[in-house]
C-alpha cells in the first residue's frame, strides 16, 4: 500500500473530524438548524471529494481488479463517515433556561424509517449472499492465486472465467463492508444518544433525529448497493462467459445481472435520501429576530 493511500485513509477521516469540530464551534451561536444543515452539507461534500480520491488511489494501488472492486465500498465508507460526523458533531449549543427530558428511553429502532431499513437490510442480505456464493465457488487461477476465477469441468473439457469475486476479492471487501457497518452503527447510536435541546422544541428534536438516522442509514445502504453493482456485474458476466457450465451457473448469472438495474435504482434512492435535507426545523422566533 502506497504512502499516499495510507495518508488519505488515515488523514481523510481526521480532516473530516477537524471540519466537523470547526462547524460545531462556529454554530454555537444559537438554535438554527439551517446554519447547522449548511455545515452538514459542507462535511458531506468534503467526504465525497476525499472518498473519490481514496477510491481512485485504491484502484491504482491494488492490481488484478482488486482495487476496482473495493473502490465503491471505499467511497461508501467515506460517505458514511462524513454523514455520521456531520450528524453527530455539528450541533449548536442548547438555549439557556430550564431543561426538560422525556422519561421514554430512546432506541435506535424507534428512529429508523421502516421502508428504508427494509431496503438496506434487503440489499445487504443479497450482497452478502452473493459474496458467500462467489467465495465458496471460486477456484485458483492459472498463477495459483486462490479465489480469482470460476472454473468447471465437463468430461474432458474444462473451462474458467475471471475476474470472479472469490476470496481474492471478497475477503478484503467483506472486511471493508464490516467497517462500513460498524461506522454506521456507531453513528446511529450517537445520533439516538444525542441530547435533546438541539431544536426549538421536543417534536422538532425528534424530527431532526429521524432525519439524521435516515441520512446515516441511506449512506450505508448506498455503500452496500454501489459495491453490489460491481460484484454482481463481474460475477454474472464471468458465470455466463463459461463455455462449460454447471447447472446452477446460467440462472445465477442471469439473476445477478438482473439485480444490477434494480440495485442502481435503489442506489439512486439511497443517494437522494442521503443528500436531501429532509425536514429542516424552522428557526426559533428569537433566532429569526437576530
Amino acid at each position: 500500500m502506497s504512502l499516499l493511500l495510507l495518508l488519505v485513509l488515515v488523514g481523510g477521516p481526521l480532516l473530516l473530524t477537524v471540519m466537523a469540530l470547526t462547524g460545531h464551534s462556529l454554530s454555537r451561536r444559537g438554535v438554527d438548524t439551517r446554519e447547522e444543515w449548511k455545515w452538514v452539507r459542507v462535511i458531506l461534500v468534503a467526504a465525497l471529494i476525499l472518498g473519490v480520491g481514496a477510491a481512485w488511489l485504491v484502484t491504482k494501488s491494488f492490481d488484478l481488479g482488486r482495487g476496482t472492486m473495493l473502490a465503491p465500498a471505499v467511497l461508501g465508507l467515506f460517505v458514511v463517515a462524513g454523514v455520521g460526523l456531520g450528524e453527530t458533531v455539528v450541533r449548536p449549543l442548547r438555549p439557556e433556561g430550564p431543561r426538560t427530558a422525556s422519561l421514554t428511553a430512546r432506541r435506535v429502532s424507534d428512529y429508523l424509517p421502516r421502508t428504508l431499513a427494509t431496503a438496506v437490510a434487503g440489499i445487504t442480505t443479497l450482497h452478502l449472499a452473493t459474496l458467500v456464493l462467489t467465495t465458496t465457488t471460486a477456484s485458483s487461477d492459472d498463477m495459483r492465486r486462490a479465489g480469482r476465477q470460476i472454473a468447471a469441468r465437463c468430461g474432458n473439457m474444462g473451462s474458467g472465467a475471471g475476474p470472479y469475486p472469490g476470496s481474492f476479492y471478497s475477503v478484503p471487501l467483506i472486511f471493508l463492508l464490516l467497517v462500513v457497518g460498524l461506522v454506521a452503527a456507531a453513528a446511529l447510536t450517537a445520533v439516538v444518544r444525542r441530547p435533546r435541546g438541539f431544536a426549538p422544541d421536543d417534536v422538532s428534536d425528534d424530527v431532526l433525529r429521524h432525519a439524521s438516522t435516515t441520512r446515516v442509514l441511506a449512506a450505508a445502504g448506498a455503500a452496500v448497493a454501489a459495491s453490489h453493482v460491481g460484484i454482481a456485474f463481474f460475477a454474472g458476466t464471468a458465470l455466463l462467459r463459461m463455455d462449460c457450465q454447471s447447472a446452477w451457473m446460467d440462472p445465477v448469472g442471469w439473476v445477478l445481472l438482473a439485480s444490477i438495474p434494480a440495485t442502481l435504482l435503489l442506489l439512486g434512492w439511497f443517494l437522494g435520501r442521503t443528500l436531501a435535507p429532509g425536514a429542516i426545523v424552522a428557526r426559533t422566533p428569537a433566532a429569526q429576530s437576530l
Binding site: P98, R99, T100, A101, S102, L103, T104, R193, P195
Partner: protein, 124 residues
C-alpha cells in the same frame, strides 16, 4: 402521554434533588408503575445538561428508598413495591393542596375565594 422531567439551573435546590423529588412524586402518584423502565443515565444526563453522576445519585437515592431497582444489563426500573398504595397518593395530593392553600392564604385570599377558584379550575 410522555412524562417529562425538568431541571431549573436557577433553582437553589441541587439538580439531583430536583430530579429525585419529581421521580418520587411520579412513582407515588402512580404515573410510573412497577417494572417501568427509566432512561439510561447518559440519555437523561445529556438531555438535561447535567453530569452523569448527578442522575446516578438520583437513581441511587431512589434505589435506597426502595422505589427503583437496577440490574446489570437490565437498566433501571421502578421497583415492584415502588408504587405507593392509595394512601400514598392521597398523602401526596394532601401535601400539594397544603402547599397551595398555605401560599394562597399568605397572599391574603380567603378560604371562600380559594374554594371558588379551585371549583372554577376543576370545571374547565
Amino acid at each position: 402521554m410522555s412524562l417529562v422531567l425538568t431541571v431549573d439551573p436557577d433553582d437553589p435546590t441541587p439538580p439531583y434533588e430536583q430530579l429525585r423529588r419529581q421521580l418520587a412524586d411520579l412513582i407515588t402518584a402512580g404515573q410510573l408503575g412497577p417494572g417501568d423502565r427509566l432512561p439510561p443515565l447518559r440519555q437523561l444526563a445529556g438531555d438535561l445538561g447535567v453530569a452523569i453522576g448527578t442522575v446516578a445519585r438520583t437513581y441511587r437515592e431512589l434505589e435506597q428508598g426502595g422505589l427503583l431497582t437496577s440490574r446489570r444489563g437490565g437498566g433501571t426500573r421502578v421497583a415492584a413495591g415502588g408504587r405507593a398504595p392509595a394512601a400514598g397518593r392521597r398523602r401526596l395530593l394532601g401535601e400539594m393542596t397544603q402547599d397551595f392553600v398555605g401560599r394562597a392564604r399568605s397572599l391574603g385570599f380567603t378560604d371562600d375565594e380559594i374554594v371558588a377558584a379551585l371549583g372554577r379550575r376543576l370545571t374547565l
